[in-house]
Subunit: 199 residues, 2 copies
DNA sequence: TCCAAATCTAGAACGTGTTTCAATAATCAT
DNA sequence: ATGATTATTGAAACACGTTCTAGATTTGGA
């Protein structure tokens, strides 16, 4: 019995601990955002010692970015199951990003916590960051292509997806830091997509 | 005698203190980046008490973002004095941003400190953030227009400038956090500018 | 089953951003 | 000049991320 949660390495007890830690992280983030995710609180809620928490995740940032990865993984899975509606690449990309944005905005504290961590991450978190980037790229690329057989994305596609991601991320950041209103996120992305994917 | 440094309010001694604080901040940032800008060290180097430092700047983030504003103000002034070389908007924008990027990359620690602060800033720093944004917008807009009499920027212009800024900022962030190599910053921006300003 | 190695626990301790407070100094209106 | 108000100082204290230590506990191989 080595694969109740699949892939993750370690003994059963260790996978359980890891799961409890990430669950506690998300729960605390949902309640109070970045500041509420305090390492002592996470350790308590997950029923592990502080030292153990640090053995699993070397910093608060690692912890949160890993949690972000788990969320994105789920989002990407879900988006993969059904076809993206819309007649043009513009419409389809906006559908995916608009939907994702709305979902994130429904959990403002959680999103604030995860986005801030992502922003503050340094080179030591490069793998987790890259993981998140890949999931996002996959979603956008699929939306651009729509029903077409999944062709290999061209250089141009990759470049466009990259720019869209950057704009989306920056806009999201403006929102989580309280600098711009919620609607502006979707608006910014829409403008960028329009400029980049002239239909 | 109320205007040796112009505009800034307060008595002479207060303007002096403020200047010393910002100078100390920049000096520490140049040496060791974000982590080296420690409030106690800033206070010491500026010859003020810790409490006084906090009376002038309510947080480390305010302090650094204000310093960033001062830097951008200077950069924008300089760029305003002479004409932007280049035959197309693309060339001119890349000239300005390429040059600014290079300048920033020559002082990696300082740039890391200021960019990180900018990233982490929340709503309470909205004025300082906006100030920085305006300086950057002004520079890019001037580069797009080139020699033309300075027309009022259209909605489209503003939107394009916004997207370029976002990409530039995200790329810069990738670099200061050690996730992407220096050349990639200019490359990313170049791709975005090419996509947005088809010559 | 038993031992050695790895892991986990509880808790203290440290560093740095931030707050607080009493005492002193500077400023300003009268 | 004087008293009132405000600003500055020096130092202590607090909060939270992070590190460290000494002793249990678990695990995995002989």
């Amino acid at each position: 019995m080595t694969s109740a949660t699949e892939t993750t390495p370690g003994s059963n007890a260790q996978r359980e601990r890891r799961r409890r830690i990430l669950d506690a992280t998300i729960a605390l983030a949902e309640e109070g955002g970045f500041d509420a995710v305090q390492m002592r609180a996470v350790a308590d809620d997950a029923d592990v010692a502080l030292g153990t928490l640090y053995r699993y995740f070397p910093s608060k940032i690692h912890l949160l970015v890993t949690a972000l990865g788990r969320q994105f993984e789920r989002a990407e899975e879900q988006s993969r199951t059904r076809q993206v509606p819309g007649d043009t690449p513009h419409e389809r990309v906006m559908h995916i990003l608009g939907q994702t944005t709305t979902a994130l905005q429904r959990q403002p504290n959680l999103t604030e916590a995860l986005t801030r961590a992502f922003m503050f991450a340094d080179a030591s978190v490069v793998d987790e960051i890259h993981f998140v980037g890949m999931k996002l790229t996959a979603m956008i690329t699929r939306a651009i292509d729509g029903t077409e057989v999944n062709r290999e994305p061209t250089e141009e596609d990759t470049a466009i997806v990259r720019v869209i991601s950057d704009v989306w991320f920056t806009a999201l950041m403006g929102w989580v830091t309280g600098r711009t209103p919620a609607e502006d996120v979707t608006k910014s992305v829409d403008v960028a997509v329009r400029l980049l994917l002239r239909d």
